[in-house]
Symmetry: C2
Subunit: 274 residues, 2 copies
Amino acid sequence: MPSPNPRESRREITGFSNPTVKYLRSLRDKKHRKREGVFLAEGLRLLTDALECGHVPKTLVMASARDPHPLIDALETAVDAAGGDIIVTTPDILGKITGKDNPQAVAGVFDEFDTSLASLDRSAAKIWLVAQALRDPGNLGTMLRTGDAVGAGGLILIDDCADPFSVEAVRASMGAVFTQSVARASWDEFIGWLRQGEGQLVAASLRDAVPYRGAPYAAPCFVMVGNESQGLPEDYEAACDLRVTMPMRGRADSLNAAVAAAVLAYEVLDTLER
Amino acid sequence: MPSPNPRESRREITGFSNPTVKYLRSLRDKKHRKREGVFLAEGLRLLTDALECGHVPKTLVMASARDPHPLIDALETAVDAAGGDIIVTTPDILGKITGKDNPQAVAGVFDEFDTSLASLDRSAAKIWLVAQALRDPGNLGTMLRTGDAVGAGGLILIDDCADPFSVEAVRASMGAVFTQSVARASWDEFIGWLRQGEGQLVAASLRDAVPYRGAPYAAPCFVMVGNESQGLPEDYEAACDLRVTMPMRGRADSLNAAVAAAVLAYEVLDTLER
């Protein structure tokens, strides 16, 4: 159903083979996202969060069958004002674009953010999360979400991590990709940057570690977790200012990476706020 | 390369269309698992954990190109002694069975466990995890893994949860599906069972809640989290003995379900061990 006041920036697309649909679908692929410097996010809540954090999509895609909603109207107005595109399509096509059987009513294309270490202001937060070679985009998004919850400044991705701008990571972040800074760096770049200023690097470790409860955390505290199957390289652990252990009462000797980051980050938060 | 002492129970399969391969692949589907009462687990570490916990696969599937390994030999011996089948196949076919591009060297078929509430001994552990309508098998497996880490007795699945015996959940559990009890029940069944004995039901909540740090946790403590998008129904929260809040310093008002369970369970562990 066309809006009563159709905007000039608005167009309707009903064919799967439309080049814009192909373009939008291609953004599910890392190579294309990287080339275009943009990423996809879906869902009214997520796009509204983005808007409230000052991120207006370049392109807004809406399902034509959608019910009227003041938040969608607000998104349309913002995109229109910023000179972006508004595309109205079928729920089927929207599902193809986002790769979901039950697509959300809206999706947006956003410019990728600056992910250089230089863009981070370490004094802006007491906690920062660091992930090394984290391969699972769901874990990565979950870490962003946890970072938001503990008031972290952002997430620093070391070595070859999953793409924080993949649909899966953005989805798992529940909007935190818009509130948390994200930086990508090699280990050498990171450790060089870290040692240029204040910052305590902390990792969960089995080597030469103290109990995670009551450990002497200090702000800005950088909480680091390693790859899902390998953990952190030994020399990365050795470079930490503090190594802590969490109780392991069962057979396993490790936690899921995103879980370990969260348990540790909440402990750090409690210490730093005490 | 055939073993120097080929066992009678051992057979080689090289065709994708072999009925056994079709049967094994079908176990990736919940309907077939349920009908057969079995599930698939993959990976040498996981199968070794299973064996050490007394779970011998009915069928052991191995890639023919595998390197010799004493742990694989131990598995073979155990399966053989228990009268199970040993199947040697190609890495490609093993990949098809487990749905992974880089399959592990071994996979096993196990009988499903008893998942009745009656099978649980609540006095066996101080902590139990409870999930309500948890839809993501990765979250479910992660909760099992966390349960193992905090020394929980098991995971109780309320209402319509993901299948704990799916390949994804088993994989995410990192073997904890073999160390943790799993029960499935409706809410009414669960609350009826819980109230027949000792047990404190705790949930993270925004309603009428106390801070999660320093809350009066008591064993056996049942830590409950709700559905990924809906959270817990209000009446389920109301039925809890203790409602606790975790700090939320950002825009989000909730954590990933498996993360919330872990942060809470580690706090409970600290209180109960103090």
